[in-house]
């Protein structure tokens, strides 16, 4: 099970990555992240929305209301150019961190 501190750090990367495939609303975003990480990353409403709003303020993502076929209104988020730009160095940072951890014998054997 992944600890809370690491989860917090990876959450933004997870959201940006999942939005790279196309616009999604909050619930679907949380569902796909949980599914793709096999339950290791799970976003509750309380964890997800403050983060989405913060990312929106930073202009990494943009939300807009859309109406689905069944008439339900949902706020869909999409990556902005600034978000796309942010994603690459963020991936790089995490990749470097994982590589560094793998280089540590004890962590690699864990």
């Amino acid at each position: 099970m992944i600890g809370a501190g690491i989860k917090r750090g990876t959450a933004e990367l997870a959201v940006l990555s999942i939005l790279e495939d196309g616009p999604l609303h909050g619930y679907e975003m949380a569902r796909r992240i949980e599914e793709q990480t096999k339950g290791a990353l799970r976003f509750t409403l309380a964890a997800l929305y403050p983060m989405l709003y913060r990312m929106e303020q930073r202009r990494w993502i943009r939300g807009s209301w859309e109406t689905s076929d069944n008439g339900r209104r949902r706020r869909c988020y999409r990556l902005t150019p600034a978000g796309k730009k942010k994603l690459s160095p963020l991936r790089q940072e995490w990749s470097e961190l994982f590589q560094a951890l793998r280089r540590l014998k004890k962590v690699a054997n864990a």
Binding site: Y27, T44, L45, A46, Y49, P50, Y53, Q57, R72, R75
Partner: protein, 233 residues
């Protein structure tokens, strides 16, 4: 299906955003809970269990409200800090100091009370001090109310309540020892009893009075939230 809009609206009451932004947040969170509920129902959960699953999405609505507010007004993060901490704190400090000064100027004259008794030693201070002490719960309550209303965290609210005794605490814990050490003109026959009495009279007792008022407001806020939770259920 439970009315998620009503639940979210009542739990996020006091979210200090523009009305249309607030309505958007409520609609979005309610839609999310709708989806969680339907998802759980599709998985075969009974209606009550599905509703319980939705409710477990948020453990602390007050904290969520604060985090949403901070996130949505991030460009004004200093403004939030000002509204949640600095403004209530400085106001409580100003009021408590101002009241002390006003009581000294316009309060009863100490020499009118029992000149030739033991009381005459205490009276000059007591006639100023006791009315001031009695006014402090009100000031603590005001600090707690203002910080709560601005969406302050528990820590911010607590700091606002006790902020006006901090200068005295600093004086006793830092300034007085530093003066005693550095100023060689001060006679160093330190008497601890008056120091402790001073600490009690100007820090502990006023702190307790401020907290009494502040905690009362906190209690009412907590009861209001519990009431909402029950309505939501």
């Amino acid at each position: 299906m439970p009315d998620w809009q009503a639940l979210v609206r009542s739990q996020l009451d006091g979210l200090a955003l523009k009305p249309h932004e607030r309505a958007e947040v409520i609609e979005e969170l309610a839609a999310h809970l709708d989806e969680v509920f339907e998802g759980a129902r599709r998985q075969g959960f009974a209606e009550q269990d599905a509703a319980q699953r939705c409710l477990s999405e948020v453990k602390d609505w007050r904290d969520l409200r604060r985090r949403i507010q901070t996130a949505r007004t991030m460009e004004n993060i200093m403004t939030n800090r000002v509204k949640q901490f600095w403004l209530p704190s400085l106001l409580t400090l100003l009021l408590s100091m101002g009241l002390l000064a006003l009581i000294q100027i316009f309060g009863p004259n100490p020499w009118m009370v029992a000149r030739h008794s033991g009381w005459s030693l205490v009276a000059p201070v007591a006639v100023v001090y006791i009315p001031w002490l009695l006014s402090l719960p009100l000031i603590g309550a005001m600090g707690a109310y203002l910080s709560n209303r601005a969406g302050g965290s528990q820590r911010a609210v607590f700091s606002c309540i006790v902020f006006s005794v901090l200068p005295y605490l600093v004086f006793f814990l830092v300034a007085l020892p530093v003066i005693a050490i550095l100023d060689d003109r001060v006679a160093h026959n330190i008497m601890f009893a008056p120091l402790f009495i001073g600490l009690f009279a100007w820090v502990l007792a006023p702190g307790a009075a401020l907290l009494a008022g502040g905690f009362l407001i906190q209690f009412f806020y907590a009861r209001r939230l519990t009431g909402r939770r029950l309505v939501g259920n």
